[in-house]
């Protein structure tokens, strides 16, 4: 069996390791336009901030490819997939044939359609090379503007601030982190960032990047000019569809995958940020560009490629982040613009503690936990399994809430909790009664 994987990050690595474990003799070819060693993408902000040296963000050792007997084409881009010929064309014209193909080529920053993005000093924040180029430029940077107040933008802002740069975050939305949390939580983070010296301007869209060869500032739609020698664009990401554009492979915002992480072409799979999978909360396909989804989808795709039927239950929006000392975890329909719910439960016992549960009927469809995150995983599992929490509602937000309180629910809905650990618990409970 000849397997080709395009992309060597969360999804690609997970798939390659699974393939090698399942089939010691199969051929594995990986194509990546990034060089070795393999680093963890979410850690580039820690590197930018100076919290981790480069070696500490490596995700796999430099001998990853040899150790797993992988033929690696590094620094090469896959420019086209030819599903009928079972062939991938590289940017140097080389043609590689496959039995199974995995698209694990991720996503790239979205840039707004404004003038001046080509000036030196304008960055997306996605690759280690972005962080390195930003660091190299720092001696000439007094002020930076971050366009976008999402997780990635704020991580860049905090990182630059840690390096002594005067940072302004300019956000189109009325609140920060609007994809991840609601207005109240967004305001908690605005106050926190401002306390740490980061300026936040909401309701501000950029009109033009100013400067000659080098950026000198950003002209906002409001007419205001924000001086900056460095601009980071954190306006979300879009799937890297280039290799499949115009082919029979079906895509929308991402490549559409089924419960086997397979595309509409039987021997082509997709996983990670490039893919659009079934969202268990939304009940339809959706892009959840997240590390855990990439790893799980990569594994499920690889198992199926190796001929072992494996099923992917689906994804959901979720995230966890800590800025300064304040952690937040949210999942499901937690963002500012989500409307598809009936009721919410809110508890705000302190200025920096905020908890919100979002329900549709008796089902939990989302939550936000700021400050006290210990029970996030239990609550997230209830969102994921889509079970009724009618009997639990009043207890979910209590400080004393713990896993044991959902045991009766698990016993009653055993089919929704198929994992070994739950099933053992159900058996234990049955033996008690």
């Amino acid at each position: 069996m000849k397997n080709i994987i395009i992309g060597s990050s969360a999804a690609g690595i997970s798939a390659a390791e699974t393939l090698r474990r399942e089939d010691p003799t199969c051929e594995i070819i990986m194509i990546s336009d990034e060089p070795n060693p393999l680093y963890s993408r979410p850690l580039i902000s820690y590197y930018l901030a100076g919290e981790l040296p480069e070696e500490r963000i490596y995700y796999r050792p430099p001998d990853f490819y040899e150790r797993n007997r992988i033929e690696a084409h590094l620094g090469r881009r896959a420019v086209r997939v030819e599903p009928r010929a079972n062939r991938v064309i590289l940017d140097n014209g080389e043609e590689l044939e496959y039995d199974n193909l995995l698209l694990a080529n991720g996503a790239s920053p979205t840039f707004p359609e404004i003038e001046g993005l080509d000036k030196a000093g304008v960055f997306g924040f996605r690759r280690l090379s972005d962080a390195k180029e930003m660091l190299a430029m720092l001696p000439q940077v007094k002020e930076a503007v971050v366009l976008g107040g999402g997780l990635v933008g704020l991580k860049a802002a905090v990182g630059l601030k840690a390096r002594g740069v005067d940072v302004t975050v300019a956000v189109g939305s009325p609140h920060l982190l609007s994809q991840m949390v609601d207005a109240r939580a967004g305001e908690i983070y605005r106050a926190l960032l401002e306390e740490h010296g980061i300026k936040v301007a909401t309701g501000m869209e950029p009109a033009k990047i100013l400067g000659d060869g080098r950026v000198t500032g950003v002209l906002m739609e409001s007419g205001e000019e924000l001086p900056a020698q460095l601009v980071v664009v954190g306006k979300g990401v879009r799937a890297n569809l280039e290799p499949v554009e115009g082919t029979e492979v079906q895509y929308d915002y991402g490549v559409i995958i089924d419960e086997h992480c397979r595309t509409n072409i039987p021997n082509i799979y997709a996983a990670g940020d490039v893919a659009q999978s079934y969202d268990v909360v939304r009940g339809r396909h959706w892009t959840n560009a997240l590390w855990p989804c990439a790893v799980e989808q990569g594994r499920v795709a690889a198992l199926n490629m190796a001929g072992k039927e494996a099923v992917y239950r689906g994804s959901m929006g979720m995230n966890s982040v800590q800025f300064f000392d304040l952690p937040v975890i949210s999942a499901g329909l937690a963002g500012l613009r989500e409307r598809d719910f009936d009721s919410e439960l809110i508890d705000q016992p302190g200025p920096r503690i905020y908890k919100r549960l979002v329900l549709r009927g008796d089902r939990l469809v989302g939550f936000i936990l700021v400050g006290e995150i210990e029970n996030a995983g239990i609550i997230r599992s209830l969102v994921e399994r889509g079970v009724s929490v009618a009997e639990l509602k009043d207890r979910l937000l209590r400080e004393s809430f713990g896993f044991s309180e959902i045991m009766p629910l698990i016993e009653g809905r055993g089919e929704r909790f198929p994992e070994r650990e739950y099933q053992e618990l159900i058996e234990t409970m049955r033996l008690m009664s």
Partner: protein, 161 residues
């Protein structure tokens, strides 16, 4: 692989397992010493009221562990079945806390995730002494072994009742 199970009926919620766990994971392994040294030992096991009694809960070392998938640094990993945190690599992003459906991972003040590691420093000890929590349990509610053995034990007890 050997894991730790809790007989809900036998667990009286005395908290001995929690304390023993905290002490086992303190640098001096001595409660008095730890407190003197200003260290606040953190337990990786928690007793909660449950149907039929109480549940002493810690990491299940899941067969398919969502915390490992979620870990962005590779700190959360598996060694011979045991799910472990490499504290040197953990950056405190709490993706594992978000992922764990049992709430068995503690986001500690030191910005590292803490969880049951099956007492690696007690390796070599035999029987109930092998794990600090099991050794400390006065009612033998905690059991270390395969699930099938635990189940057999429960079944025997059911017969006895």
């Amino acid at each position: 692989m050997e894991r730790i199970f809790c007989d809900l009926r036998r667990c009286l919620a005395c908290g001995a397992c929690e304390l023993a766990c905290a002490v086992e994971h303190s640098s001096s392994k001595d409660l008095f010493q730890a407190v003197l040294e200003g260290e606040a030992p953190v337990r990786r096991r928690e007793v909660q009221p449950a149907p039929w009694g109480n549940l002493s809960l810690a990491c299940h070392h899941c067969e398919s562990a969502p915390c490992i998938d979620a870990c962005i640094t590779g700190a959360m990993h598996r060694e011979e079945g045991v799910v472990l945190v490499d504290q040197e690599r953990c950056v405190g992003c709490w993706m594992c806390v978000m992922a764990c459906p049992f709430g068995a991972i503690t986001p500690s003040k030191l910005k590292v995730a803490l969880k049951c590691d099956l007492c690696p420093e007690r390796e070599g000890k035999e029987g109930r002494e092998r794990y600090a929590c099991v050794a400390a349990c006065p009612t033998e509610a905690l059991f270390a072994g395969e699930f099938a053995e635990f189940k057999r034990l429960l079944e025997e007890e059911v017969v006895r009742y």
